[in-house]
């Protein structure tokens, strides 16, 4: 009876895992391997033969002007976007941690932009940023701040930052709900005990809230870093990487090189670099969360 159950368990496990595993092999393992393989070849996507070129694609990319701008912008996204979204998400979660009248409404509004497609967010912000009729410049003119009216998406110096503001608008909601859940996980006795001891809010934050938020911090920062690496839609819809290449990012450079110019070998090399960058950032988080799962068992 016991042995029979064990065999049944084994068979069921194999049966149930086979289809997801097949899907994984075809759509994850094979593509990663193939991307690396392709990055060592020159290919236009149509020709029957792929010419092996060694590391020439990488050499080309590292000397490429658009690559340097894209890499620089991706790093800017990683630093500025991640810290802005994280800090605002945490700040808003702290404000709304204790229920006040209207908190449900505030929560809904803060999360609303997160629910919509980035392409639509981009369309709306493109309208706001319009240099002649856009709300932002018109509002600034009405306030007498004519000096601050900029060509938000058309000036290579600020285009990336303008895109980031739109992305922050749509990303804060996610950080906010994750932090809110993190704060709710802190047992209320801790805060009460500290308050009875006369701790001020900064003390409370530093010694109790911040350390207890470590898991939420890890999740939010990893999540937002991943979003920063993946940034594509919003650049595509707001500036299409321009003016020039000034707002291009790695994912956009990859798409542009492979699908717009048909240089699949070079595109694959950029994809490989992108993969390494994300592994470098997400890897530690993965190890951390698996250890956590092991600990729970």
């Amino acid at each position: 009876m016991h042995i029979k159950l064990r065999t049944e368990k084994k068979i069921t496990t194999i049966l149930f895992l086979s289809l997801p595993f097949l899907l994984f092999a075809v759509f994850y393992f094979y593509p990663i391997g193939y991307t690396i393989f392709l990055s060592l070849h020159e290919w236009n996507g149509i020709a029957p033969t792929k010419t092996p070129v060694g590391l020439a694609n990488y050499a080309f990319i590292f000397k490429n002007y658009q690559f340097r701008i894209s890499l620089g912008n991706t790093i800017k996204w990683l630093i500025i976007y991640v810290s802005c979204v994280t800090a605002s998400g945490l700040g808003l979660a702290l404000l709304l941690e204790k229920k006040i009248r209207g908190s449900a409404l505030f929560e809904t509004i803060i999360f609303l932009p997160t629910t919509i497609m980035l392409i639509a967010a981009g369309a709306m912000w493109r309208w706001l940023y319009n240099p002649h009729y856009g709300f932002i410049n018109i509002a600034l003119r009405k306030l007498g701040l004519d000096a601050l009216t900029l060509v938000w998406l058309g000036d290579p110096k600020i285009a990336t930052y303008s895109i980031m503001i739109c992305a922050i608008w749509s990303g804060v909601g996610l950080a906010f709900v994750l932090y809110l859940a993190g704060l709710n996980n802190i047992p209320p006795e801790y805060g009460e005990a500290a308050r009875i001891d006369g701790a001020s809010f900064p003390q409370l934050f530093r010694h109790i809230i911040w350390p207890m938020l470590a898991p939420a911090n890890a999740v939010v920062i990893a999540m937002m870093a991943l979003r920063a690496i993946k940034v594509f839609d919003i650049v595509y819809v707001l500036t299409n990487g321009g003016p020039g290449y000034s707002s291009s990012v790695l994912a956009f450079f990859m798409y542009d090189t492979s699908f717009a110019r048909g240089q699949f070998g070079r595109g694959a090399a950029i994809a490989t670099i992108l993969f390494l960058v994300s592994a470098l950032i997400i890897g530690p988080y993965l190890l951390y969360s698996v250890r956590k799962v092991e600990a729970i068992r």
Binding site: T12, P31, T35, I110, T115, V177, A251
Partner: protein, 277 residues
Amino acid sequence: MKTRTISTKQLKLALKYLVLIVVCAFFLLPFLLSLNTAFKPADEVSNVTALPSRLYLGNFAAGFQAIARSMLNSFLIVTPGSLLGILLGAFAAYPLAQLRFKGDTVVYFIMLAGMYIPFSTILIPLFLIIRNIGLYDTYVGLWLVYTAIATPYMTLILRNFFATIPEELREAATLDGCGLIKYFWRILLPVSQTALAACFILNFRSFWNEFILALTLTRSHEFRPVTVALQYFVNQSSDRVEWGPLMGAVVFAIAPTIIVFLLFKKQFVRGFVGMYK
């Protein structure tokens, strides 16, 4: 002394509300301005800060015409893709949560890692696979890819959910002669309805809003989903600055996810939070 402490408390609360109202204005403003523009006839659009002189619905008609077909495409792509993703996720989650086997942590880790692979790093091979099996620019091609992408997320959420279902339920069922496969279909899935529904909401949002794969794997008007169609519409109208019809189209494109969010707020947010725990 007592009145003073109360007043600082009230002052703090007032300050809190002030900050929250300013923040919420920032989050709402783009929506309100887009709606405002969508209701204006062409000659009033450039007068951004004014309200429409009358409720003009022509922009909604024009916007709907531009993206109606693609919205239908999106529904036909997103629904099967989401359901298949949930099914395959449940397949993987069942042994991981309930049957425990040697190496299950490794499988779990691989699934977790799959969640974090940016699509752009595997986009070229995905495009080639789909093209080579003749599914480029079809619904089925996107079903397949979306199913593959949903699977690790669904596995994770459902594994955590299945783990909360007591082993006794399975043992009792087995004693009654219910096999492990039958148990999955007849008992485990039915008792997990709420989790499955939350999964569907999560998938629906991410695939309705998905862009880069849709852009790469479709080409024609007959198959492209709403994100791609909206992007074309943005590019088309940005030169001639037809902001009215564009904002009309935006309202239609974002309505489904907003409605789902407002109706199922709890499940929506809980799904998000659960995914990253």
